[in-house]
């Protein structure tokens, strides 16, 4: 077990979850593996790897939506629909964050995709051109 890579652990976790294993049991397995290999500080990375694996398999995507102003319910719905379609997943778990520095528009980040249609990005592109 100690010789398994993070990637292999992530694949294992995703497979177990898809097979209907309870989350708690899978989490315990992963914790034991990390402790045994002395890689407790790679916990966050492992979680990202598992999320990536799940998204890659089209199961679920974990998305962070950044806007300058709070979004309405209908807009949230449209965003979820877009993410499912664009990422090719059946489910989406969204996390919203407000950041005035983006000025306007929206930025959507998943583990394997990024869509940045904020005004700050466009201004940065203009700056690049100059």
């Amino acid at each position: 077990m100690s010789k398994l890579s993070r990637r292999q652990l992530a694949i294992y976790a995703a497979t177990q979850l898809l097979n209907g294993q309870p989350m708690k049991a899978v989490a315990q397995d992963l914790s034991a593996a990390l402790v045994e290999s002395g890689k407790q500080n790679e916990m966050e990375l492992l979680i990202s790897d598992v999320a990536w694996e799940l998204e890659n398999r089209g199961i679920v995507a974990q998305a962070t939506i950044t806007t300058a102003t709070p979004i309405s319910e209908s807009l949230r719905h449209h965003l979820d629909k877009f993410i499912k379609q664009a990422a090719g997943v059946d489910n989406v778990v969204t996390k919203e964050q407000i950041d005035r520095s983006v000025l306007g528009g929206v930025r959507i980040e998943t583990t394997s995709h990024l869509w940045d249609k904020t005004i700050s990005r466009k201004l940065a592109d203009i700056r690049e051109v100059f």
């Binding site: 965003l79 306007g104 869509w115 249609k117 201004l123 700056r127």
Partner: protein, 178 residues
């Protein structure tokens, strides 16, 4: 004896030469004296005198010859000296001419080098100025762009309300979905 004879004749006969006023006795006496003197001079004085004069003449002649020779030698030396001087002058003139030509060549070469160097410096300066100009223009463009972007940010920050932001997000979604 003749003298006596004469004296006697005169005493006896005052006619003839005495009638002319001439003293024959005296004359003959003087003549004899003269002849004797002449003989004495010829015998003892003239040869020595002539010898002395001859010696002096020879000395003078030798001196003259030497003087002539000296003068000739002097003339020869003078002509040689003037010839040497002429040659030296010619050599000096030639050396001067050569030095002058070399100086002119050095000066013209130095001038050419200076001209080339100044042209090179000028070109380098022009190139540097060009580069600086380009750099400044770029800097100005960057600063202008930065200013435009900052101004845009400020304007959008103030002007973009929730409604417009929602419309922007929806429009972006439509664009991404295409």
């Amino acid at each position: 004896m003749a003298l006596l004879a004469l004296q006697f004749a005169e005493a006896q006969n005052p006619e003839g030469i005495a009638a002319l006023g001439l003293n024959l006795k005296g004359f003959l006496f003087q003549l004899t004296t003269f002849v004797l003197l002449l003989l004495v001079l010829k015998r003892w004085v003239f040869p020595r005198l002539v010898a002395t004069l001859e010696k002096r003449r020879e000395v003078l002649e030798r001196s003259l010859v030497q003087a002539r020779q000296t003068e000739e030698a002097l003339q020869s030396a003078e002509s040689k000296a003037s010839e040497l001087l002429r040659k030296a002058r010619l050599q000096a003139d030639a050396a001067l001419e050569d030095a002058k030509k070399q100086t002119e060549a050095i000066i013209s070469k130095a001038e050419a080098v200076a001209v080339e160097r100044s042209e090179r410096i000028l070109k380098e300066s022009e190139s540097q100025l060009e580069q600086q100009s380009i750099k400044l223009r770029e800097q100005l463009r960057n600063e202008l762009a930065e200013l435009v972007v900052l101004t845009t940010e400020k304007v959008i920050e103030r002007k973009l309300d929730d409604k417009n932001d929602r419309a922007l997000i929806e429009s972006s979604l439509k664009e991404m979905a295409r």
